[in-house]
């Protein structure tokens, strides 16, 4: 058992794929073929870019469908996909595709709405650079103290990125805390829906579990 928790962080370079959508059907077609990095990017990027504010939709697909196409029902359905139900990008992709396909089937014959010029959806992806922060915790006390000081991106890496990349059902934090014998706190973290908060709120919420 490794007693030391090493906090990592990540920085990203965003890449455009060159694929763009004007209608929901375009989006659906691209969703089927675009790389997994793009799905991950568009379901997570807002957490990082606006880590201090609460947004209506954190999911870029939902945000665009609501804002540019004014298809509010579909947007809400996509935003409502429970991210914690999925441990692989493939499953998450399929869930989004299924939601859109169902919606299109229900509205057969309706004229497809088009995004106004300049509001097309651009599929992007990110190249992630992962590196240690140099911050380490050896005890549970230290761990929660560190949690106050790590950057939002470090928090993001351990809670979101690591879970979907390593295909775990839990976050790095819960795994380590369990190893350290703090199973009750680990379980509380596992029960938390990190997608329901912005990163600063999430930090506070996790810290509050250790009181």
């Amino acid at each position: 058992m490794n007693n030391v928790f090493r906090f990592f962080t990540e920085r990203r370079l965003v890449e455009a794929t060159g694929l763009r959508a004007v209608t929901v059907r375009d989006m659906l077609a691209h969703l089927k073929k675009v790389g997994g990095a793009s799905i991950f990017y568009h379901t997570h990027a807002s957490y990082i870019e606006h880590h201090f504010v609460r947004q209506r939709f954190y999911n870029d697909f939902a945000s665009w469908i609501s804002g540019a196409l004014q298809e509010h029902k579909l947007a809400e359905k996509i935003a409502g996909i429970d991210m914690l139900d999925y441990t692989t990008i493939t499953d998450l992709r399929n869930a989004i595709i299924k939601t859109i396909t169902q919606d299109l089937n229900e509205r057969k014959g309706e004229r497809a709405r088009k995004a106004p010029p300049g509001e097309e959806f651009h599929f992007c992806k990110a190249k992630n650079f992962v590196f240690p922060t140099g911050i380490e915790a050896r005890t549970i006390d230290e761990f929660f103290e560190c949690l106050r000081h790590i950057s939002p991106l470090s928090l993001y890496f351990h809670v979101f990125e690591s879970r979907l990349r390593l295909q775990r059902t839990t976050s790095d934090f819960a795994v380590w805390l369990t190893d350290m014998g703090a199973r009750d706190i680990a379980e509380k973290i596992n029960r938390l829906d990190p997608y329901a908060f912005n990163l600063e709120e999430l930090r506070e919420r996790i810290i509050s579990l250790y009181k």
Binding site: T9, R11, R12, L13, V14, E15, A16, T17, G18, G35, A37, E49, H50, H51, F52, V53, Q55, G118, E119, E120, H122, C124, K125, A126, K127, N128, F129, V130, F131, T133, G134, S151, R165
Partner: protein
């Protein structure tokens, strides 16, 4: 004199600066050579003046060279610039020949030595012809809005662009169908430049007095060129709606180009519209008025950027950085910066603009919250240090192609 990277530590946080050093450590001895077309004037030169010394300070060798060209060549590349923006210039085969000739001259005379060679904008793009001979990693950094480029010109440029290892655009909207990676690196502002740094209140007061503004009444400001796409006339119309019930002042301030007849016409129109009202100040500021612009933005109660079309909209970034509630036209990069109702307001019409000005005047607490969020958004996403970080990551990405996850 260049500003030390350490001066940014209190602004962006010590962790971020430490991360820059960590990332720089992974670049080892590789050097980056920037090449553009002018040592002064314009946004690219302004950014390179700051970025190159900061990169060196982090221990990564960075240099900057400039191509040479005749007046004729620069006339051609100015026409290219406009045509890439989508304005209706005729692009001729003669222009292409002039471009090729200057490229050949520069290929002969220039020393291309960087491990990473970053070529800025179309003017030096043809230098890629040296790639097969000297190797190196080549990136083409496009600062221009190419969302609707002149097709003939874009096809011409693409024969060069396709040969690069990677391209870099400012926004996804500018990206193209290309066989090479297209990284997205947003523009940035320098929080320590005269245009953005904190100012003494006495200087702000001086500027308020100079332009005969009343510091006790709300000031609505738009800083921009006199260009129809920035809609100064719409700004005055919105002001007039607000003015019916609110005792406000309006400042329109921007530079003017003597060779721009359209700009002169727009300025005149604005002046005529505001002529009867002593509370409307229409200012034509000379070049190098950065500190005055800074003061005007800081003196404002609300800042507008009511553009009809916009590339990125750095004036929006500047105002947001100064903790001002900003109302922007819902277009281009303004939509990337303003999250409606969170970091400012997005508007589509004169009426909408007036409505939002009134909202801000009547709700100072809410205006403060917008301004706080705006500042934080810029601090996280649109400062020079983030630009620097992105260039360092790009250097690493160019060396290690392929994987979506790179462990350092």
């Amino acid at each position: 004199m260049s500003i030390s990277i350490e001066a940014y530590r209190p602004i962006v946080g010590t962790q971020f600066i430490d991360e820059l050093y960590r990332i720089a450590d992974h670049i080892n001895d590789r050097a980056i050579q920037h090449i553009n077309s002018t040592p002064v004037g314009g946004g690219v030169a302004e950014i390179l003046h700051r970025l190159v010394p900061l990169t060196n300070e982090l221990g990564v060798k960075a240099t900057w060279d400039v191509i040479k060209g005749s007046e004729e060549f620069f006339n051609v590349t100015k026409a290219f610039h406009n045509a890439l923006h989508g304005s209706g210039n005729d692009i001729t085969d003669d222009m292409f020949e002039i471009y090729r000739e200057t490229t050949r001259d520069n290929l002969k005379s220039m020393n291309l030595y960087g491990d990473v060679i970053m070529i800025h904008d179309p003017q030096p793009a043809g230098l890629i012809a040296k790639k097969d001979e000297i190797g190196r990693k080549w990136a083409w950094r496009c600062h221009i809005d190419v969302s609707q480029p002149n097709k003939k010109l874009w096809y011409f440029l693409q024969q060069y662009v396709d040969q690069y290892h990677a391209s870099v655009f400012s926004m996804p909207d500018f990206s193209q169908q290309l066989p090479i990676p297209q990284f997205l690196i947003a523009p940035s502002i320098d929080p320590l430049a005269d245009k953005n740094r904190d100012l003494e209140q006495s200087f702000i007061d001086e500027i308020i007095e100079k332009y005969e503004l009343d510091p006790d009444r709300p000031i609505i400001t738009q800083i921009s060129r006199y260009d129809r796409l920035k809609d100064p006339v719409g700004v005055i119309q919105a002001y007039k709606i607000v003015k019916k019930r609110y005792d406000v002042q309006l400042v329109l301030a921007g530079g003017g180009a003597s060779d721009d007849p359209e700009g002169a016409a727009v300025l005149q129109e604005a002046q005529e519209m505001g002529a009867e009202d002593p509370d409307v100040k229409i200012l034509l500021l000379p070049a190098y008025s950065d500190k005055e612009i800074n003061a005007l933005q800081r003196a404002s109660t609300v800042v507008l950027q009511k553009s009809i079309k916009e590339g990125f909209g750095l004036t929006v970034t500047e105002a947001m950085w100064k903790r001002k509630p900003v109302i922007g036209g819902a277009t281009g990069g303004i939509r990337k910066q303003i999250i409606d109702g969170v970091t400012g307001y997005l508007v589509h019409t004169v009426e909408g603009t007036a409505r939002r000005i009134i909202d801000i005047l009547n709700n100072p607490t809410m205006a403060d919250e917008l301004a706080r969020n705006a500042y934080e958004h810029v601090r996280n996403n649109f400062l020079l240090t983030r630009h620097l970080k992105d260039y360092l990551l790009l250097m690493i990405a160019l060396e290690r192609d392929g994987s979506d996850v790179i462990e350092l």
